[in-house]
Assembly symmetry: C4
Homo-oligomer: 272 residues x 4
């Protein structure tokens, strides 16, 4: 804001366009970037479809090069428009940007490095920055807050699920054995996870009556305990959403007051 008083340098202007989404140009840049990322993902997808690749190989190749050059220019602009380039280069997005651009150049000399382009999907996370001004980030922050608060409980739950799957998987291996598809303990644990999470591929399925009985128990367990993470997040969200507001006490700076509080619960001063 204070930049608007004295005329900003071209670096400052570039920084505003590339790194911020508050100005019209900044938003436009981000939208174009998002479209380019989506196009680049689509290109890689189509390339993997053999019949399509055989028919339109050169077209896909040209598209891939255009995208790569655009991404390279964007990368260079990002580096030069920031005061401390290392801050960007070694940031999460900086590394993602580099890794999703460089494989195409390497493919001039080596073959098979296109696999890395999957990283481009990670660039899609930038979409949240574009939506920065909208309520989406607010929603995302609330989600994050609720998830962070329930981190410990969910870790305990997941740990419990993994132990249960190891034990039940081993038991099923002993009951069903190799002849029914439970070829070894890791595969049986994999099957236990498939069953407990109610995915149920069906590539492996118990054949003996005892195995089916235990499988039934696993399924009912999985069907019931899904209530636990859900309950954790629900109660956390209800708390975050309903109980408290974001004002801080003018005297002691304590936050998370009840929405209908008139006095600070910590120091007793009147809240505004």
């Amino acid at each position: 804001m204070s930049d608007s008083i004295k005329k900003p340098s071209w670096k400052e202007r570039l920084h505003e366009i590339i790194y911020e989404a508050d100005t019209k140009e900044g938003k436009l840049f981000d939208v174009i970037l998002l479209i380019a990322i989506l196009a680049s993902i689509l290109l890689v997808m189509l390339e993997s479809v053999k019949s399509f690749d055989n028919a339109h190989h050169s077209l896909l190749n040209i598209g891939e090069w255009i995208i790569t050059i655009l991404f390279s220019i964007e990368y260079i602009l990002r580096v030069i428009s920031i005061k401390k380039p290392s801050k960007y280069i070694f940031s999460f997005y900086g590394i993602i940007d580099f890794l999703s651009t460089v494989p195409m150049y390497l493919s001039l000399f080596f073959i098979g490095s296109q696999g890395l382009v999957a990283l481009r999907a990670l660039r899609l996370l930038r979409v949240f920055r574009i939506l920065k001004l909208a309520r989406y980030i607010g929603a995302s922050n609330k989600l994050m807050l609720a998830l962070k608060a329930s981190r410990a409980k969910i870790a305990v739950f997941l740990f419990f699920v993994v132990i249960v799957c190891i034990i039940l998987g081993t038991i099923m291996y002993m009951i069903e054995g190799e002849e029914n598809g439970f070829t070894n303990i890791p595969v049986s644990i994999y099957w236990a996870i498939v069953t407990l999470t109610t995915v149920g591929f069906g590539d492996i399925a118990p054949q003996t009556p005892l195995g089916q009985l235990i499988a039934s128990a696993i399924m009912i367990l999985g069907y019931s305990i899904i209530a636990i993470p859900t309950g954790i997040v629900s109660s956390e969200m209800t708390k975050t959403d309903v109980d408290t507001n974001t004002q801080s006490c003018p005297s002691c700076l304590k936050e998370t007051h009840k929405t209908n509080a008139t006095f600070c619960y910590n120091c007793g001063s009147i809240l505004n």
Copy 2:
């Protein structure tokens, strides 16, 4: 109500019967219409069952024509009984009604236009209008309110799910490869969605140990993050549902009174 003082014209009466469900005739009309819609859907379903169609083709054809003529009459009555016909014709229901009636006439000249009759299922949404007087609409409105309020959060969640599926699908394509059914990236992403949402068709299933390990991680992820939309809607509904409003007691300023409260539950003064 004020219409009952001076005698309503036949157009007004027709409008009351067709567009409203408050009078006995209006309710009867809507119930008959609903039965006709259900019959029309059943007809199309049976038509698609080859063995049944071969045995009773002419019967199905006659039924189809009866339904079509009834729907045509209904459509014309709707158009003439409204003051501004264009208001109905270009409304959601107007377009649905037209598209679900016209294909049968076209089939006199062309073949294969019966496919459009699937639109008839959309006409079933009218059932909510018939139930207008009952508490169902209230329930539906509350649902809509809660869903609208959680729209932004659910959009963020779905966006996250899609990005995760793109990344994990691509990784699984690189690990499992074509020989294990992961023929290309789009198919692998499809598989990732099938797995993360705990559907698990089993038409494609990982065969390599590493693939099964990642699949296990996807399943546990899917099993855990289903807690997020559930938590969002739960907390939203608890908020919407809690029988309290935001007015404050004129005497003691206490808030969160029950919506049907006449007196403050804290000090007993009369609420406005």
Copy 3:
């Protein structure tokens, strides 16, 4: 209770034992009955296992006759120990008891009526009566209350799910067609239900890219909207559980006061 003053007749004593679970004899009777019901279900199950039935047919037959005679005696006792026999005979349990006893007698003259014994499983619902004194019924009542309160919303939700499945099933039939297992519209709707509810048998699975895209959308939809019934019941239970207590106002008899209410929200009288 007043029966204990004057000596009860044998009919009254029998009634106490059979229909109530407050006395020691009544509890014993119910526990024995429950064991007999479980044994009868186990017998029918084992009978359906061909290999077991071939080996132990006469044993199963004898067990079946013992159970049948026990159930017959119980039925007769129930009829004679009640003042108005018709009240029992035409009640839910009366019909279940009759239907689960009679097939064995019919099987003397006809073959194949054993199928009806499945009704015996319904007799298991009696277990809740045995647990009457415990906290289980309280829990069950709270559940019922929450479910009753959310009946309308869940009806709207299920109706929505069915309409969505009809529409999506029809679309999938048009896209995938008979050659990919979507042989007719009813089967396609069945597949849509299998997919939306995240069951995913995999006996039918989309093969075309467009079909897989729509299937992905159905799965993500199903994965998200499961939040709706869950949210409904969660918020209802939170309300039932937390917000209100069961005392009624001494003046106006209004119930469901906030747990921290001092004054009746309806008439302003002081609550005790």
Copy 4:
């Protein structure tokens, strides 16, 4: 703490290291133990993978013996460092520790006792003790509290699910019959559980139109009633979690204060 005044005996020191995790040595011991347990589980898993076992049998055998000797030493140290050895030996962990160590010795004389090593997975539960100091145990306790409170309701729910599966399984057996994979009633009940819990292996799937109709109903039922355990746990957790206690303000008698509140949020008086 008081032990640090007079010098503790070596038994007391050993007890501190082995049974407690408050000192640096105690923590180190527990972390090393956890790694050993994980290694022992990994060994058993790899042993069950035939191709790996054939290639590295002697290596696995040596590893197994090292683990067994380490576990034996740990077991002996646990027994001698406690005042009442029987208290440990017959505790849950004591039995688990014994059973997960002894099979290897037995295998010198007998073959096939390795199966018992699955018990080692249970030893992983010790991880919670290592994390004792962290917030994980607090989270785990809260989870336990909420689950304990909802025990009765969940028991009623599970009982209901089992009865429904018995009834629906039997009905499906009668409708589909042996020729469609529903070979007997237990298998059909197994299928009903697979379907109701939305697992859906697909090894058995209904083929008749009526069977598919009932299957659809089961699926929609299972999709809806998952809301019940979720609702139970959610409401219980919201109750447990809500940061409020039951004390009332000495001035205004307002309740539902935040647990860390010093002043009443309504009138500002000091709470006790």
